[in-house]
C-alpha cells in the first residue's frame, strides 16, 4: 500500500473517530432542515409577490433563484469554514503533540503525508458540499419545481473555492501553529470579502479605482472571485441584469481569474510540500 493511501485512510479514520464527520453531518442536517422550513413558510409570500410583479416581467423563477442563491451563499461560507477547520490543525497539531515523529521516521516521503491528508480533506469537502448544496437545490426544486441555470459548473466553482481555502490552510499549517494559521486564513478571507464589496460598489457606480482595488484583493486571494463567478453561473438572467444583490455581482470574474485561482491552489500545495519537507519536527 502506498504511503499516500495509508495517510489518506488514516485521515478519514481520524475524521470519523474524532467525531468531525458526525458533527458536520448533524449540523448540515440542521441547516437543511432550517432552510426547508424557512422556504416552506416563505413560499406563499414569494409566489404572491412574484405574481404581483409579474406585470413588470419578473417571474416566480427569479424570486426562487434569489432565495436559492441566499441558501448557496450560506453553503459556500460553511464549506470554506469547514476547509479551514479541517486543515488548520492537521500538520501543526501533529508537530506540536509529537505524533508526527514516529510517522516521519518511516521510509516514506514527507510529501506523502501532506498529499494523503490533502486528498482525504478534498473528499470530505466534496461530500459535505454535495450534501448541503444539493440539499438546498433539491429543497427548492421539490417545493417550487425550480432549478437554477448551470448548477454543475456553479457548484464546481464553489468546490474549487473550498479546495483553495483548504490548500492554503495546509500551507500555513505546515509552518505556523493552528491558531496562527486560522488567523491568517480568516484575515485573508476578510480581505477578499471586503475587496469583493468594494469592487461591486465600483462596478455599480462606475468607479474604476474601486474596481481595481477589488481586482488586487482577488489577486491576493481569489476565493471571493470564485464565488462571484459561481453565483453568476447560477443566477437567473433577470437577477443578473438587476445586478446589485448581496449574493451575486455585476462585475463577473473572467475565465482568466478562474485559471489564476487554479494556479493559486497549485502554488499553495507546492508551498505546503516544500515547507513541511524542510521543517524540523
Amino acid at each position: 500500500m502506498s504511503a499516500v493511501v495509508i495517510l489518506f485512510r488514516l485521515t478519514l479514520l481520524e475524521a470519523a473517530r474524532r467525531r468531525m464527520l458526525l458533527v458536520a453531518l448533524l449540523m448540515g442536517a440542521a441547516f437543511l432542515a432550517l432552510f426547508n422550513l424557512g422556504f416552506y413558510f416563505m413560499l406563499p409570500n414569494v409566489v404572491a409577490g412574484a405574481d404581483e410583479a409579474g406585470s413588470v416581467g419578473v417571474g416566480r423563477g427569479d424570486f426562487f433563484n434569489f432565495v436559492l442563491m441566499a441558501g448557496l451563499y450560506a453553503v459556500n461560507f460553511l464549506s470554506i469554514a469547514m476547509g479551514a477547520l479541517l486543515a488548520a490543525d492537521t500538520l501543526s497539531g501533529e508537530v506540536s503533540t509529537g505524533t508526527i515523529q514516529a510517522i516521519a521516521v518511516k521510509p516514506i516521503r514527507r510529501s506523502s503525508i501532506v498529499f494523503g491528508k490533502w486528498l482525504a480533506f478534498a473528499i470530505l469537502l466534496a461530500a459535505y458540499q454535495v450534501l448541503l448544496a444539493w440539499g438546498v437545490i433539491l429543497s427548492v426544486w421539490l417545493q417550487a419545481g425550480y432549478l437554477p441555470p448551470n448548477p454543475i459548473p456553479g457548484l464546481a466553482l464553489m468546490y474549487m473555492e473550498a479546495i483553495l481555502i483548504m490548500t492554503l490552510t495546509m500551507a500555513g499549517s505546515s509552518r505556523l501553529t493552528a491558531l496562527a494559521t486560522g488567523g491568517m486564513i480568516f484575515g485573508l478571507y476578510g480581505i477578499a470579502f471586503l475587496g469583493g464589496w468594494v469592487e461591486q460598489f465600483g462596478s455599480f457606480s462606475e468607479n474604476t479605482t474601486a474596481i481595481q482595488v477589488g481586482i488586487v484583493s482577488s489577486l491576493i486571494i481569489p476565493s471571493e472571485a470564485l464565488w462571484k463567478r459561481a453565483a453568476f453561473e447560477m443566477t437567473a438572467p433577470l437577477v443578473r441584469l438587476l445586478g446589485f444583490s448581496p449574493f451575486s455581482s455585476p462585475s463577473v470574474p473572467s475565465n482568466l481569474m478562474v485559471v489564476y485561482a487554479g494556479a493559486y491552489i497549485l502554488v499553495s500545495m507546492l508551498v505546503a510540500l516544500w515547507s513541511f519537507g524542510r521543517r524540523d519536527l
Binding site: 495509508i6 505524533t99 521516521v105 518511516k106 521510509p107 524540523d280
Partner: protein, 306 residues
Amino acid sequence: MSTALAIDTDRLRKLYGDSVAVRALSLQVAQGEAFGFLGPNGAGKTTSIKMLLSLVEPSGGTARVLGAPLGDRETRRRIGFLPEHFRFHDWLSGDEFLTLHGRLHGLDGGDLRRRVGALLERVGLAGHGGKPLKAYSKGMLQRVGLAQAMINDPELIILDEPTSGLDPVGRLLVRDVIRELRQRGTTVFINSHLLSEVEITCDRVAFLKRGEVIHAAPVKDLHLEATRVTLRAGNLTEAVKLGLAAYGEVLRRDGELVLLSIASSKVLPEMTRFLVERGVDVYALTPHQPSLEELFIQIVGMEGGL
C-alpha cells in the same frame, strides 16, 4: 561485521537561531553494540537523535547511519524509533496502531498480522490490542511504543528515554527486550538519564554536555577509572603516608584509616606491594566503586541541566 559502524558522526551541529543545541557531536557506535547516550537535560540528546533520524536537519557536520548518509529513505526501513513522551494517535487501538506503523514500513497481510500479535504479547499487552490507546496507561503506551519500534525487525533501534514512564516490572521487561535484541545482533542506542538502566543494559556509554561528547567509554571500564579506596593499616609512618601520594590523592586520615582517591583500580596491586615492602600492617584495602550516578556528576559536573 565487528568493525562496521551503525552510527558514525563527525562534528554534527545544530543551531536554532543563535542558540546552540548541539555543538559538535562526534560519535561512533559499532554494529551490534548497546550504546547509552547520557547527559543532563538540555545537553542536546534528543536533538542529536532527531538529526540521526532526519527529523531535524543538521546545521553542520556529517554523519552516516547504517553506512548511508543522513536522510536516506531506504535506510529508514532498517531503523526502529521510540520517541520521547511516546505521543501517538490515541484514537487508534493498539492493533490498529501497530498495523499502521507496520504498513508505513511496507509490511502487509498475514505477516504483519502475526507480527502485531507476537509483539503485543512480547511487551506484555496480549489481550489489550482491541482497546483504544486513549484507554492505555502511561506504561502501556510506552510498551506499545516499544513494540512499534520493533515492528520492522530493525538493525538499529533508537530508544529515547525508554523506561521513563515505567514501573519496576515494566523496566525489567524493557531490559529483557533489549537483551534479546542484542542477542539477535541489533544495535541498540538508548538515550537516558536513568543511569542505573544504562549501566545494566549497555556495553558502552557516552556523556554529552552542552552538545558535545565529553567522555565515552565501555561501561565496565568506567568502574576502573576514578575510584576511592579505604586503607586500614597499622604502623603507618610519615614516610609511607607521603609515599602513598604517588598512587593517589589522600583525602582523609583518621588514625588507622586512610581514604584515598585513585585514578584507576589498576594501581592497587602496586600500592599493596609498596605498603608491604615498607613493613605496614595492612588489615583491609577496600575499593569503593562509584555508581554511574556518581560518575555522571563527576564527569558532567554539578550544574546539571536546564
